[in-house]
Amino acid sequence: MSFAIIAVFTVAGALAAMTLRNLVHCVLALVVAFTGLAGLYLQLGAQFVGFAQILVYVGAVAILIVFAMLLTQSHEPLAHLTVAPGWVTSSLVAVAVFVILAWSIRSSAVGARSIQPRPEITVRNIGDSLMSQFVVPLEVTGLLLTAALVGAVTIAMREQRMNR
């Protein structure tokens, strides 16, 4: 029941994000979809991921998109619904990808596996494993993000110097 409500919510948000004409409305619809996803995570008992989803996607990514949109171009709504050229091919590709994924999931051993009782995953467990088992990937991700940040700052600074 609650899954159905959240799923409808999420899909409606995603559809609206694709079809609405005003870009800001699209972002707000996308936020609805993000929130719905967070709701799904919470329903599955993944508190940390759910809250992180809201914190990162609603609090940061959506705001980032908004900033990028407002700072780059005029946000006048388009007069009519535009469809990208070659939409037939792209939708065919999308359907094909979906079919292949669905088929591979169906035929894999996952479906045959018996459902095990859900382990109680606390935030402490996540923290412990992040700091022990997955410390290298965590650090690599951190390094990558820092590099991206430094790169962005460098690009911005060079532009400023050229303007002078």
């Binding site: 800001v24 707000l28 809201i54 609603v58 609090g59 940061a60 705001i63 407002l70 935030v123 402490r124």
Partner: protein
Amino acid sequence: MTETMDQIFVLLKHRILAHSPVSVQPIFSAALSAIAILVVFATLFALTTILERKGLGRFQNRYGPNRVGPFGLLQPLADGLKSLTKEDIVPHSADGVVHMLAPIVLVVAAFLGYAVLPLGRNMTAINLDAGLLYFFAASSVVELAIFMAGWSSRNKYSLLGAMRAIAQMISYEVPLILSTITAVMAAGSLSTGAIVESQTGYSGIWPHWFVFTPWGFAGFVLFMIAGIAESNRSPFDLPEGESEIIAGYFVEYSGFKFALFFLGEYIGMFAICGLAITLFLGGWAAPFSFLTWAPSYFWFFAKLLVLIAMLIWVRATLPRLRMDQLMNFAWKFMLPMALINLFAASTWHFTPPGAIRWIVGTILIAVPYLLLGRGLMQSNKLEKRTYRFAD
């Protein structure tokens, strides 16, 4: 007797719940907590508006409002009636739906944070394992609401105000969260209940609050500064700078929607203060061991009122910052200090208890503070300001 007084609201809730069927009890319990929070904090909001106006008056050698009712205490009621009866104006070119949703999203997001604040012993609405994360997730939605308000009004000033507000809130969220991590490290949990529990002990009569450690004090100060910025309050209220952008993101709001913005702002401020109490000031714990007979919720609200008074005091004292000062302060002072504080906190944990720990901890914070302060003063050439025309 003391025990009953302390748990009276918890017992009352259980008594009410006992009369309802078992199937609806979880929902009913949540609803009861939500209603209690809504009523208590909305009342506190009304009380704070009048206290703030009277307090600000006294800080500026004025009387403050004293006309409505005895000592002007009915002023919030008059203000509320006024905002209810005012015309609700929506600009012609505004985006109607978003314009209407923005204040609602703001107030809802502001209230969400209270779900994890321990207002007293066993008085947390939901004791989440990732309580602190939830709190910040909920408060991050406020930014979106502010953007919605600023954008949907179709007004340059409100859009500018919204951009300022978002830029400010994103910048100050970093030191805000970094300064809370010290308390999380000390308590070893993200759950607000566990963080308070870890501060309830006493040595002699002195409590084990985190604020009474070098890193805790620095963390508390950093948290409060970032929190004031986060709730867009003076001296960080430049998103609504009247002199330059009229009122920022809520220029185009009138009547009850404006009141909702006002409510949301204060509710957010109380939530930040409540979190500061939870993290650094021992939550509902009594300040001295011989005062534990008073109910736990009393201590929480007493501390909350003290913090609110502090914020009013700060508001009465400091002028508004400029945008570049604000950003420089966030990234050149707050962020390095928060990181240094994190280092100091971890050093504290790995040093055996005793005087040496205190000395090392204090030095680790005081020396960078002094150096950073001196460096910033010199680089900005902050001298006594001279005015060309004012003299």
